[in-house]
């Protein structure tokens, strides 16, 4: 097994590294297929049947069908791929970002207008280290 990474200490962040690449390939390649308008149409007509074309795990399937955006990241989804499902639904990056972070749409938009989510308190999973700034 690979050693823990120093970025594992960052809270609320799913780095698309080798480990996620190994479990997420088929899920993300399904998303990639949605770049083609004809595939988007087939997917929208019968999502479950379209998903049968891809060797997804039961949990990956559930996450897609239920639009569990955060869940998709946990089973190897990469945001640049999973966003293509959101585009089918007429959602934006900001809509999905709000849903993943559990912030209602309007409150999320207000947070961004007010300068975004502060790094203070959000740098480390360990609250004791949270105010420390990384130095390169």
């Amino acid at each position: 097994m690979t050693k823990p990474h120093d970025y594992d200490s960052i809270p609320g962040t799913y780095v698309y590294d080798a480990g996620r690449g190994r479990i997420g390939y088929s899920l993300n390649m399904f998303c990639m297929s949605l770049n083609k308008a004809e595939n988007r149409k087939i997917f929208e007509e019968d999502e479950a049947a379209y998903l049968d074309r891809f060797p997804l795990t039961a949990e990956q399937r559930r996450c897609v069908l239920e639009r569990d955006w955060l869940g998709m990241l946990k089973v190897g989804g990469n945001i640049y791929y999973t966003i293509k499902i959101a585009f089918c639904d007429g959602l934006t990056f900001q809509d999905v970002a709000g849903m993943m972070s559990g912030v209602p749409k309007e409150a999320y938009a207000q947070m961004m207008l007010a300068g975004g989510r502060s790094p203070d308190g959000n740098r480390y999973k360990d609250p004791a280290k949270c105010s420390e700034q990384e130095h390169g």
Binding site: H5, D6, Y7, I10, P11, G12, T13, Y14, V15, Y16, D17, A18, G21, Y25, N28, M29, C31, M32, L34, N35, K36, A37, R40, L70, L73, N78, I79, Y80, Y81, I83, K84, F87, C88, T92, F93, Q94, V96, A97, G98, M100, S101, G102, V103, Y108, M111, M112, L113, G115, G116, R117, S118, P119, N122, R123, Y124, Q133, E134, H135, G136
Partner: protein
């Protein structure tokens, strides 16, 4: 001799392209961002470069996870606009510069940068949004473009230091090209933003400001920022800023900052724009 006369750093948020394509740039939300782009467009019109090298990343458009090139150069005559999942942007096809692009590919590989070569590829918002930001909405782009892709989607991207060295090699290669061309190089992506996870929406103005300052004051120090520091401080997608180092490495050691614009938010992102001129440029 060809030479690089200036560098442009520019964020490439898809929503900026959408705002332009749908005529929303004058809305209260977008107006402050777009007002800051006017001066850059004027500057670029006056500069009238012969060619642009645009360093950007593909976002699951031309390349999937099937094949992931770390550094890639596009040598085609032209590059169509990609469908990223909501139809292609209504912007002109990008014309390439095969003679210079092939020269760069050969020179870079022999200079120990193992480029992937693309004869055919669509280009996505990573390339077209910076062109839209700096050129507006012309019927055709005002100059040919050489796309240079950097992987920042599959971890790990190349290091900032490696990107800077690639920039140096690009400059060496450009200066060996026998046509008299004035070239502008774009470094795109960033600035701080996180699109994923419970921490989505992270913005770090302090980090971004220091990064912009460092582009002129001490770019080599910036190349030492680790991937983990980018992700922790500037958000998981803030790591795109490694691409700015390719642009910076291709410029003189000392450059003049001629313009800067920074605005939060553009969707989930801190949008930065910076123009750097080589001191030696005529």
């Amino acid at each position: 001799m060809a030479r690089i006369v200036a560098g442009i750093a520019c964020s490439h948020v898809p929503a900026i392209g959408v705002a332009m394509d749908r005529g929303m740039t004058g809305t209260p939300y977008w107006d402050p961002l777009f007002k800051g782009y006017a001066a850059a467009r004027d500057w670029l019109t006056k500069l009238a470069p012969d060619v642009a090298i645009v360093v950007y990343n593909d976002h699951a458009s031309a390349f999937s996870l099937e094949i992931i090139p770390t550094f890639l150069i596009g040598v085609a005559e032209s590059f169509p606009i990609a469908d990223e999942g909501f139809g292609p942007r209504p912007v002109p096809t990008v014309q390439g510069h095969p003679a210079l692009a092939w020269h760069l590919a050969e020179s870079l590989i022999l200079d120990e940068f193992d480029m992937t070569i693309a004869n055919q590829m669509p280009v996505d918002h990573g390339l077209t949004v910076p062109l839209s930001v700096t050129c507006g909405q012309p019927p055709a782009w005002p100059f040919p473009v050489i796309p240079l892709c950097v992987n920042v989607v599959q971890y790990p991207p190349p290091t900032g230091a490696r990107c800077f060295k690639l920039g140096r090699a690009i400059r060496r290669a450009v200066e060996k090209f026998d046509q008299d061309l004035r070239i502008v190089i774009y470094g795109t992506g960033g600035m701080s933003h996180q699109l994923q996870g419970e921490r989505a929406g992270l913005i770090n103005r302090q980090f971004d400001t220091a990064f912009l300052d460092g582009m002129t004051k001490d770019p080599v120090a910036l190349t030492k920022i680790t991937h983990t520091e980018y992700m922790r401080e500037a958000g998981s997608e803030g790591i795109e800023m490694v691409m700015w180092h390719v642009m910076r490495g291709a410029l003189d050691e000392h450059v003049a900052e001629v313009y800067r614009h920074y605005h939060v938010p553009a969707s989930n992102t801190a949008a930065g724009l910076m123009i750097l001129e080589n001191r030696s440029a005529a």
